[in-house]
Symmetry: C2
Subunit: 177 residues, 2 copies
């Protein structure tokens, strides 16, 4: 794999479109729908893609799919990969491969209300392995650019604003936002 | 679906185990591995489960799978579902169904460095629809418990600690943590 010219052309067109866009025009909305399938097993639908999400048996599930926090780790790794690929293409840095291992530590006593600890991650670690003939300085600079622009890394590092509604038997119990 | 007795038994066993555990014994590590597959397409491996993650064509990809921020939304919806199912079983609250729609707004100009906006979500919305013969007060209380204990909701709402390493051609460029 050398510099990906067709990818850089596609991305340059995307960037040019975004430069012309107002904030309102630029903002995109992403959506996922989920439903409980029995026990702790769930199904997520993202556009045309379906995912089974479950818990391992040690946490009360039947292990028919990754669990939600594993999905978050996969989201971080794949987001990093995509942002590496995109900026490398645009900057003309050749990449022969990118492999990432993501780990998250979590104390399940938080989820189960057994101890006063946060239910989310204690820490998230990601190890990036790059194969490239580019000079080390280019790869170090690429990493700085990637970490400053990676959406899922920002989602993890910066507290996100969340809002919700609750409906019971098709009757809204809370006002909508 | 009424109260799930076998689930509540499994969960009670898990909770009992966690009560006996020290912090060190309780902490679990979750892992995902990812690799770039060409263009912006990536593959994530979570234990025995493989996922293709890609970007839609408008963002330079080939749309062979959900994108990373969509995975985060699916993680939130499925995590909420699982925590609803778990606490309903333990508390003896019957659930006939849980459906959740999760939306996230994001300005892609942050990712592409075209405007000084955060690359992550502007806002995340999740709409929970429950079907249940339980009294409204029980469902409202269940929601409070779920939102206080849902790992992925905590991951989104609370800034997470992240650490990373970078290796180039099998040589570590940064000290390990």
């Amino acid at each position: 794999m050398s510099v990906d010219r067709s990818l850089s052309q596609a991305l340059n067109a995307t960037v040019e479109g975004l430069r012309q866009a107002s904030a309102e025009q630029a903002v995109a909305t992403f959506t996922a729908r989920t439903e409980l399938a029995g026990g702790l097993q769930t199904k997520a639908s993202i556009r045309q893609f379906d995912l089974v999400v479950d818990e391992p048996q040690a946490l009360g599930g039947t292990d028919q799919g990754p669990n939600p926090v594993e999905l978050v780790l996969a989201a971080l790794g794949t987001c990093q990969e995509i942002v590496y690929a995109a900026y490398a293409a645009v900057l003309g840095i050749p990449l022969d491969g990118v492999h990432i291992k993501v780990r998250g530590t979590l104390d399940p006593r938080g989820l189960f209300g057994v101890a006063e600890v946060a239910p989310g991650f204690l820490e998230v670690f990601y190890d990036v392995e790059i194969a490239s003939p580019a000079p080390e300085a280019d790869i170090v600079r690429l990493r700085e650019i990637v970490d400053a622009h990676c959406p899922v890394l920002d989602i993890l590092r910066r507290a996100q604003t969340t809002r919700s509604t609750l409906a019971l038997n098709n009757r809204l119990l809370t006002s909508a936002y």
